[in-house]
């Protein structure tokens, strides 16, 4: 419901509220566990157990334990066939619906990179070994990227909502939220579900290992001794609503999304332009979209993968735009969950705004001396946080940033 300006007759953009959020990640199940892990600066990266990593350099990842993930209330045979990614989406959406049972979205926009990839792997391995293909139809049917979204909607909402799945590599989650924000802001939609998911898979794990982007050591974003990323997994969903409508019905508004920026830097399919132009443009465009200046930002949740190239480019862009604003990469605690990362990090930013603290960048020893950043080192700390920016950048030179504002009760 965009409003007409009384002077120009042009539509005034609608304000966009986050009215519910759900998350499952290595940091925990739900907002409360996530908050506790962030406050305690918990390292949730563990030895990989889902597949053999004997031949990989990297041996660790942020993982969600199956004993909790698959132990949901649904005991129907169908639930057993669902991919882990579907279970993650179901858990995240359940948390949203617990906060907001009456939410009826017009559209769902979700980011991912690899859908049900591990089912594709099982299918291929069985084919190669002339193995048992009895489960092949299940693997194939549950492989597509839209399936976990549709499963979660069916299971939790019980209704059919059109869904658009954005696969913009590691920027997917932030792109999905950003596009959903634009949809509500334009007045074309009033209520949109958005977020992202990804589950660990051998193919993707091996892929990052082959690029030597992942590290056998700890994930140390922005550190002088950083050696690469570790992967993660998870899902997060945010319910967005026209802020005016949300207030009219007395909804609790968790935060307001105020800006979105997207850029494409075209430098290389896996590496960012070292000048930082891509990340800088995404952040600048988010600030322009929100009509605010950089000095109004209190916290930056960085993409911060801890690869040499990403952190150099992002760090350069941040220091060009912001003057000493606290920065952390929460991937240091939970790994990089690819298409879910932007959505989980939006939830983390939302928690920082609501609980007035700065999430930490753990495993941090000393700042890369080519960077000029105010890193929230190793421990969370209380702070006045009114505005946060969350960054996600991906393969193909795709860059996205969203700005989230605290809403006073």
């Amino acid at each position: 419901m965009a409003q007409l300006s009384s002077t120009t007759g042009e539509k005034k953009p609608a304000r966009v509220a986050v009215v519910a959020a759900g998350v499952v990640s290595p940091l925990g199940f739900g907002l409360t566990e996530t908050l506790n892990s962030l406050r305690r600066a918990k390292d949730c990266v563990t030895a990989v157990t889902r597949f053999s990593v004997a031949e990989c350099r990297c041996k660790t990842a942020g993982q969600i334990p199956d004993d909790r993930l698959l132990a949901g209330p649904n005991k129907k045979p169908r639930a057993k066939r669902l991919h882990r990614a579907s279970h993650m989406m179901i858990q995240a959406l359940r948390e949203v619906v617990m906060q907001l049972p009456q939410f009826e979205p017009e559209l769902t926009i979700i980011g991912t990179t690899s859908g049900g990839m591990s089912y594709g792997e099982q299918y291929y391995r069985s084919l190669c070994r002339s193995g048992n293909l009895r489960h092949a139809p299940t693997w194939i049917a549950n492989y597509p990227a839209q399936k976990p979204v549709i499963d979660a909607q069916e299971e939790v909402l019980g209704v059919s909502v059109p869904c658009q799945v954005i696969a913009n590599a590691c920027a997917s989650g932030t792109n999905a939220i950003g596009h959903a924000f634009e949809c509500v802001r334009s007045g074309r939609y009033q209520r949109v579900l958005t977020g992202g998911y990804d589950a660990l898979s051998e193919l993707v794990f091996t892929g990052f290992d082959s690029l030597q982007a992942s590290t056998p050591e700890k994930c140390r974003p922005f550190d002088r001794h950083r050696a690469g990323m570790v992967l993660g997994e998870g899902a997060a969903i945010l319910a967005l609503e026209n802020l005016e409508l949300a207030r009219k019905r007395g909804a609790l508004v968790l935060a307001e999304i105020v800006g979105y920026g997207i850029s494409t830097d075209n430098f290389h399919i896996t590496q960012p332009d070292p000048s930082g132009v891509g990340p800088r443009q995404a952040m600048e465009r988010a600030l322009q979209s929100a009509e605010i200046s950089a000095d109004q930002v209190d916290y930056i949740n960085a993409h911060g993968t801890a690869t040499i190239f990403n952190d150099a480019a992002e760090g350069k862009a941040i220091s060009q735009l912001f003057n000493g604003v606290p920065v952390s990469s929460t991937k240091s605690m939970m790994g990089h969950s690819l298409g879910a990362a932007g959505a989980i990090e939006a939830v983390i930013s939302l928690l920082a705004l609501r609980h007035q603290f700065l999430p930490p960048n753990i495993n941090f020893d000393a700042l890369d001396d080519r960077l000029d950043l105010n890193v929230v080192a190793n421990e969370s700390r209380p702070a006045v946080v009114r505005m946060a920016i969350s960054n996600s950048f991906g393969f193909g030179g795709t860059n996205a940033s969203i700005l989230i504002r605290r809403v006073e009760a």
Binding site: L107, P162, G207, N266
Partner: protein
Amino acid sequence: MSLAIAGMGWVTPLGNGVDAVWERLLRGDEATATPISEQFADRSYSAFRIPESAVTGLAHPRLRRASVISRFAATAGLEALEAAGVKVDSQNAGRIALIFAISNGGVIYTKRFYRDVVETGAQSASPLLFPETVFNAPASHLAAILGVTGTTYTVVGDGAVGLLAIKMAEDVMMDKSLDYCLVVGTEEIDWLLCDAYRRWRLLRSAPPIEPFGKQRRGMILSEGAGAIVLGREGPITIERVHLGGCYGKRAEAEEILKRIVCDLSQVEVDFVISSANGTFIDQAEQGALEQVIPDAVTYAAKPALGESVGASGLWQVILGAQALRHGELPPVLHADSAISLRLARSRMTVAGARRAIILNSGVNQQVAGLRLALR
């Protein structure tokens, strides 16, 4: 807000180029199926493929190691831009958005990458292949070729993804600073994909695709790309897009399709471009059409072109636009004479036609529709 089609590009197993493919469809031509086999399996499949020589004209460095899916996309995208008279340069690169529709993505390189991992271990995994396995690789290559610096999205889904991408383009174009949005649907075929669809009981071993057949004998996969440039002006508009929804069972698909057809036929519609592909979705579309607009002339191109999944929605929009522009529909191939729908059974004049519905039903739970109008 109605967007207009400013240009189109088409890469299909029947040839490249909108006018060339259209002429062949009007003549009643059908793509030739070629066998596709795999070293570790006895079974082979038939597919409508594109010879690699058909897309070797592009010499951009970004395509040197890229899979054919990216070449198809680039060829179709560049044709669409040229037809629209849009030359992308540093002045306007930020005012053009790029949206890709993909279903299976870069399956050839994905299989090759994972095969190395399975057969020889993780240490043989290729760092050159891995980036090409990512869904947005084709979009990033085309963005780099064009120099697009702003909005680039890759939307994934089933056969309905093309229309979902067009809807996304419509939403993105609410930003008045954008002049154009190039929407590209693209897909490539591998044996693995054929085998997966066969195990899912959706693929038949050899042509033809029999649309709306009672036996639902299955589809034949095809590959290629379709591209449309959406702008603010042009003779054919995307008058309305209906996002449809997600179904669990075939009956639910029919219900959603009925809602789509009801919504899109609020104004007089002259013909329908169906996504009938020889599977269960044909009955769903037939049921919806018979209940809501039983007299509408219906055309289905998949018997001639195959099921190109992520590219199919764009192909159907191109077909609809061509039919409106030329006042003709090609013949529907291999349709049983007992089918009760009013099919374009032979090359058919639709002179004076003003509006067309495009129905896009995927086999993995998504359906959508849109209405084209000739200004």
